[in-house]
């Protein structure tokens, strides 16, 4: 199974590199979709079907919106060269951050272990508490739903607020009424 993960990770990285480097906007958008599809497959093989369903639907919708919104009206290719200095700066910054990050990777728990798995004799950890008492306390058979809508529902409320605010901003900036007044 780990070989499959490495193949999928390589696929995502190659798709992301092509999406950044290509000159054609349409192939760039398609490569973004391919990267999201690889992410969805990884979630599926890690036995997280909730996240996989959400990822694949959002990816398809984002692909449609990006193609419809950008391709049909703008120039469909990127022209001109990149600035040499900004490329050097970004590569150096990413390398330094990666070298710092390798120290952090050593402190991670083992692959597949929950992050808060340090258990004392008197207290249960949070993840084990959800797994053993989730059905009894919330009544939801899907343990993911009981976590995101009951134990950690305050976080979901924050997400909903972020989505609401961003849609509000997009609708206000792109609305129709103001353009009529400007035109006439």
């Amino acid at each position: 199974m780990p070989i499959l993960f490495y193949v999928l990770l390589l696929f995502i990285i190659i798709a992301a590199l092509i999406a950044v480097e290509t000159q054609n906007l349409l192939s760039s958008v398609i490569c973004i979709g391919a990267a999201g599809f690889g992410g969805s497959l990884i979630f599926l093989f890690l036995k997280a079907p909730d996240i996989a369903i959400t990822q694949i639907t959002v990816e398809v919708l984002a692909l449609i919106i990006l193609i419809r919104a950008t391709i049909s009206r703008d120039k469909t290719f990127i022209s001109g060269d990149r600035e040499f200095f900004s490329v050097i700066v970004s590569v150096v910054v990413v390398l330094v951050l990666f070298l710092i990050g390798t120290r952090v990777f050593d402190t991670f728990p083992k692959f597949g272990e929950p992050a808060f798995a340090v258990e004392t004799k008197t207290e249960q950890t949070a993840s084990k508490h959800y797994l053993t008492n989730g059905l009894k306390e919330t009544g939801a058979a899907n343990i993911v739903a009981s976590v995101i809508l009951d134990y950690r529902a305050y976080d979901t409320l924050g997400e909903a607020t972020v989505l609401f605010t961003s849609i509000l901003g997009a609708t206000v900036l792109l609305r129709k009424q103001a353009k009529i007044k400007v035109q006439t």
Partner: protein, 154 residues
């Protein structure tokens, strides 16, 4: 923005109801099977996006215009906020007290049934309404309003 050819129109008129039903299923059974409000809302929005792409903007203006979508968005957000606050009436001291489960459903052993888990299906419904309406609004705003072009006389 005009529609597509007659083949696309026929096939999408058969398929749209299946996509809509699948979105409702994903939303309603979110507390029993994988899925939930967010994925269900995205599928509901994509059925309307299919209609808009296949039949053109006029069908959308009749079925789900922008003002209705924005009101559905606000109703979903307010419903989710109301679910978080109603628990205070039942003696909770924190947000999102699962009052239906704790007060009524816990005695009846209703686990694994459709009517179970208290406020979780209601929250799923509110989130599906909110996400579906807002993503459809993103599509409408980005794809049908042309900047620089004078608005059509209506």
């Amino acid at each position: 923005m005009n529609g597509m050819t007659i083949i696309v129109k026929n096939i999408s008129s058969w398929i749209k109801i299946l996509i809509f039903l699948f979105g409702i299923y994903i939303t309603l059974f979110g507390h029993l099977t994988p899925g939930g409000g967010f994925a269900g809302g995205v599928i509901l929005a994509s059925s309307y996006i299919l209609l808009t792409l296949a039949f053109g903007k006029r069908v959308t203006d009749e079925n789900l215009p922008l003002w209705l979508a924005s009101r559905l968005d606000c109703i979903g957000a307010l419903l989710f906020l109301a679910i978080s606050l109603v628990g205070f009436l039942f003696g909770a001291s924190f947000f999102f007290y699962n009052f239906i489960q704790q007060k009524y459903l816990a005695q009846h052993a209703s686990d694994f049934h459709l009517v179970s888990a208290g406020t979780i299906p209601l929250s799923n419904f509110a989130i599906a309404l909110k996400v579906g309406a807002s993503l459809f609004m993103v599509f409408l705003v980005l794809s049908t309003f042309r900047p620089g072009e004078p608005a059509q006389q209506e």
